[in-house]
Subunit: 464 residues, 2 copies
Amino acid sequence: MTRKPAGIAIVLILGAVAVRAQTVREVSLVITNGIVVTVDAGNRIISPGAVAIDGTDIVAVDTADNVRRQFRGRQTIDATGEVVMPGLVNTHTHAPMVLYRGLADDLALDEWLTKYIFPAEAKTVSPEFVRVGTRLAALEMIQSGTTTFTDMYYFEEEIAKEAKAAGLRGVLGQSVIQFPVADAKTPAEGLARAEKFIQAFRNDPLITPAVAPHAIYTNDSATLKAAREMSMRYGVPTLIHVAETQSEAMTARERGSPTVVSYLESLGFLGPGVVAAHAVWVDDSDIALLKSRGVGVSHNPESNMKLASGVAPVKSYLAQDVAIGLGTDGAASNNDLDMFEAMREASFLQKVSTADPTAVSARAAVQMATIGGARVLGMQKQIGSLEAGKRADVIVVGMSASRQTPMYDPLSHLVYVTRGDDVQTTIVNGKVLMRDRKVLTLDSAAILRDARRWAMTVSAAVAR
Amino acid sequence: MTRKPAGIAIVLILGAVAVRAQTVREVSLVITNGIVVTVDAGNRIISPGAVAIDGTDIVAVDTADNVRRQFRGRQTIDATGEVVMPGLVNTHTHAPMVLYRGLADDLALDEWLTKYIFPAEAKTVSPEFVRVGTRLAALEMIQSGTTTFTDMYYFEEEIAKEAKAAGLRGVLGQSVIQFPVADAKTPAEGLARAEKFIQAFRNDPLITPAVAPHAIYTNDSATLKAAREMSMRYGVPTLIHVAETQSEAMTARERGSPTVVSYLESLGFLGPGVVAAHAVWVDDSDIALLKSRGVGVSHNPESNMKLASGVAPVKSYLAQDVAIGLGTDGAASNNDLDMFEAMREASFLQKVSTADPTAVSARAAVQMATIGGARVLGMQKQIGSLEAGKRADVIVVGMSASRQTPMYDPLSHLVYVTRGDDVQTTIVNGKVLMRDRKVLTLDSAAILRDARRWAMTVSAAVAR
């Protein structure tokens, strides 16, 4: 062992302190000491790791030590023993339908839609209904770690306003549908609403407006084309239900195409920016078309199971590198908005239906719920992983429940034993929306009270 | 309006008070003002309802008003806005395997068993491992509303002691297996252990001892017969894995029978008291055999999905009135012990796999998790529903989370949006094991700490 003269050591220490004082940068928020699941290209897991956030952006993702040396947060969150990961991206829902959750279950799809959901909507959907429902959905999403949601409903401008007030990121599509609905008597009116909606929100930091032609069986070819044309003109996404049920193909065949996807292709509909919800009943050539046209697929395993719609070929989508993310669908067909359950079901359903226990691994499920969803929405450069330069959409997830003990692999636990309720902290665009389970942007008690009041109106409407 | 002389009114009031004072009975516990989901023969839901408990037994299930008139509890639980229901009956698990949860996922069954689970068991299973694991499992089960669990593992006497200490009801089977395992070098040793175990616990108020020949592919016909003979001799249940995977039928065919069930029939194995776990790969004649022999079936949807074992024909079992309950299986293949998830998966999986959204309704799922499970275990006269005269195994389930709002139908919510973590209070045999999420019979912090320490041993064992 050699000894250095004490004088040199002191100089070295002073030098280090000087260097450190010069380079420590003050930032708005540091989340430290967590198990950082980055979902970056290398799928790095850094433990103990830290994420430094300044304003709306992530500025560093590194070991806790390295971040400590470079950043000082005006606010700090200690995530010891917890997972820090990208906020979850829900690629398909109908937020206000939380007010119909559990209204009608265990029914054939036609009966469910035509006897309960459509009549309830005809009698109850209003701007106020949509606001109350969106607030409840926003509360549930913030509480369960969803930071971006993709929506198709009516009075979408109300949904946008409520999402902004809650602090959530949204890709929100104004519905266009052939028959008279609550906010439009004709598809032309729906299209006009959609255009107005796009113009109002196209430069919003949180809201990406979109056009949402409901499905091929609820729109004629002219309306489908007009909706797609409008979304291309404004450079905004097109949200549409595609091949959710087997019977949907009948419409395609009546219009001269063998499948829903090939029918949409015949209209020139398919291309980047199209988000195809469900895409269950597709053949290999449909999958190839979706891939070659750059269409994103939203997989909704819980809805597909509960409504017995079918099993989407997720293994094939992943093998063909189709952009695929997860969605919950509306709470009337799920019945909740918990993306952790969507991950678990995506894995479980694909394993059992393909007789392959290696299908949709925990890692693949986490990817679908984060970066996969971002890619579906064309937002993979902004969100979906923890990387410097991206928007700070981050969640902190508790890992200390008895059902999460012991922990050999955080990815396994995120998918197989974690629920939305384990999320402790939710951050969107650098803003803390929930801290230690307390939602900071919404009045939870008032929201639950308002929802219960609306439920009475809904019950009366379907009782007839 | 007529006025009565004041004197008569006073007499009437005094008379009512006198009658009331005579008939009010003091009991140990009244749970009141809840939404009481009885799961009795009429599937009554009483709201606001109450359950009166005295000692180990339920003495009344009625409207809150009627119970208030007749009973006064030394302890009272106000369940306003909450569901009061029978404790959940888990018909198949391996409690100590919680220490392997998430150790190995997304693997083919053979690789999972032979490369991870069997080697880990060979190196780590000991009485102390079993005690620590059972305590963790008991904590998780109490926290998620399971009041009776059915177990197959090694050192089952340790599991029995820990279950009793935790206050849980258990149907516990000492494993009998052909190859050397942690607690027996030979099947004869396993059988001897089983007999000793039965003798030790056969008069226990909480523990029903059982014999658990693991499966046909891990036991020869002589051992299977001996195990069954022993359980019949003592009048205790026989727990066995039956037709979990498609490959299991190979063993049956090698032994001259077309299916696993027909092979067991050829041994004279099938009869009341047999609990067949999984029973996935069965044909119509197998189902008829299980019915006619009075065999109970434990359906484990999560394990069957995660390990890609297959889909049990639950619709057929229900149509044929086979006794069928739900199980979680061990946490190594699930990865948790949450019976609410088992209900949800039982419903979802059956709907999608039979293309019938009416299959396994919310009501059917709740029945399977309670009275169905009790019937599987031959305990339907003691547990499984809220009825006067039955043991007081009761849970109180919170219903006020955002994802549970609004509520149109409590059965729907129990299956489609509720998690084990919503359980507030768990009562077994009249004893409160958890109150307002605080577990009263176990030291939660010590259990989690011990489990984490054991995980290090397990990690080292599989690393090799």
